[in-house]
Amino acid sequence: MAASTGQAGADAQAAVAVEVNLGDRLFRWGTAAFAAGGVITLGAMAVEMVRASALSLSHFGPGFVTSTDWDPVRELYGALPYIYGTLVSSLLALLIAVPVSLGVAILLSELAPPWLLRPVSFLVELLAAVPSVIFGLWGVFVLTPWLRESVQPPLQSALGFLPFFKGTPRGFGLMAGGLILAIMILPTISSVSREVMRAVPSTLREGALALGATRWEMVRTAVLPYARSGIVGAIILGLGRALGETMAVTMVIGNRAEISASLFAPSYTMASVIANEFTEATGDLHLSALSEVALLLFLVTVALNIVARLLVWRVSRVSR
């Protein structure tokens, strides 16, 4: 062909451009495929768990969550004692962890001098890094003896008329479970709330101080109201953690499937029963029932996480 050199040059350039675009496009789609990995995993998880618990779902229906019988010998499975243990230990954990972690968050975001920030936040982050099974080990050999000898007897003699403090102080039980969960979810709640408080515009703080507010009044009237929904999100995230936490709770809660109002009584959680019985499940129905417990746990924590993320995102995005 007798095309001019100019034309050939333009063609070559166009060819290069196409090649470059191709590389870019491949790269973009390639990374997008990997990015889809997390989404696919989450979806596959939901599908697989429903499939694994299909037998139990069809066999017991909604009665699964209201029945208290869990008897592999008679092939009867009802998850209520586990649901109860999970809810009570998690709520107890929130009751303890929320005030403590809000104190930490306020200190770190509003009050602490700079030299104190780094060590304190490092220690709190370290608390989040300690493996769950180590908390369990500490719980078995340090926390529960301490509860049994130094905490529960005085509590009983002072408040023993309340149903919460009846029964033999054993150490192992709901109280130990709730306490250890509180320690473990504290870093989650405090770091997310601190993040949210940091997102509060400093003009609000300055405004409050300029009006003559003390430090605390500034926190109470300017920071906390602005950060409120984010803090609620942080607490829900902590709740999600507590519901699904397995090892430490399994080791200290006593593992007995009974419903008792007493915090001294042994209990059992959903995560614990999966951990203890899954490898020794006696039959298809048993395995399926355990899978259904896992499915319930999965659905509840996913729902809580969605709500919490939306709340936290709302606060921190507005300020960005």
Partner: protein
């Protein structure tokens, strides 16, 4: 806000009390950590011996033995998890940072956040139905997959954050030299972000190394040496759990020794990660 007529002194007292309460709460939060670290150090040092690192567990009733197989097993499992979780997570993070300002990107981000809140025991059940039932036995591979899935969200979000921190001028300089965008990202942007990403990886490894629940019915446990990926494999955390809930004193001692090793590893990774970050911000 307080009424102007309220005496100033009273407001001061409330202020000091509230501040004191915050300090008290912080002390309360840190006390359990100090107690835990103290006990692990005290009990662990007393129980740690050379044979812990070199010998296999002995049968019940025989004193002594070690956890050599669990140490190796943990290393293999975490390595597997990295091999699965890191490439996926890093590339996903690159996508989010470079191209992710669209609905798909938001969906991915959201799913990563939600995935990080899924209980690890649920991940274990998922991997059981996916891998263990397919292979018809517990295997190291299944354990690696479970830990890899748990790593994924952390790795993704950390990579995204750090790639986003790379200044646009670097990207523009590379593009101006005629480098295609994909090569600019791989050779210039990723390389700049690498130290930070390495930090995130260390934290992810530290977390994976301590995970127990998802290993219980994926990698299971093994009293003997095993390096094959299709067989059950021992790991430090599972061994700690087994020994801690056993009724034998000697096993309790071993559990404390293993706890010391595990906590030391986690601590070193965390401090190292912090030092990298600190070194970079101080410069």
């Amino acid at each position: 806000m307080s009424a102007p007529s309220e005496p100033y002194l009273r407001r001061r007292i409330v202020d000091v009390a509230a501040r004191g309460l915050c300090v008290l709460m912080t002390v309360l939060a840190i006390l359990p950590l100090l107690s835990l670290l103290g006990y692990v150090l005290k009990q662990g040092l007393g129980a740690l011996s050379w044979s812990f690192f070199t010998e296999l567990p002995r049968p019940v009733g025989e004193v002594g033995g070690g956890m050599a197989n669990a140490l190796a097993g943990s290393a293999i499992l975490v390595g597997l998890a990295c091999a699965i979780g890191m490439p996926v997570g890093i590339l996903a993070g690159v996508y989010l940072a470079e191209f992710g300002k669209n609905r798909f990107g938001n969906a991915v981000r959201f799913c990563a956040d939600v995935l990080s809140g899924v209980p690890s025991i649920a991940v274990g059940v998922f991997v059981y139905t996916l891998v263990v039932l397919t292979m018809r036995r517990f295997s190291a591979l299944a354990g690696g997959v479970a830990l890899g899935i748990l790593m994924l969200p952390t790795v993704t979000r950390t990579t995204e954050e750090l790639v986003r921190l790379v200044p646009d001028t670097l990207r523009e300089a590379a593009l101006a030299l005629g480098v295609p965008k994909w090569r600019a990202i791989l050779r210039v942007v990723l390389r700049t972000a690498l130290p930070g990403i390495a930090t995130g990886m260390m934290l992810a490894v530290a977390r994976a190394a301590g995970e127990t629940a998802p290993l219980l019915f994926t990698a299971f446990n093994n009293r003997f040496w095993s390096a094959s990926l299709d067989k059950p494999m021992a790991s430090l955390p599972v061994q700690i759990f087994t020994y801690a809930v056993s009724p034998y004193d000697d096993w309790h001692r071993q559990a404390w020794a293993a706890a010391l090793v595990l906590v030391a590893a986690v601590l070193v990774l965390n401090v190292a990660a912090r030092l990298v970050v600190y070194g970079r911000t101080a410069r």
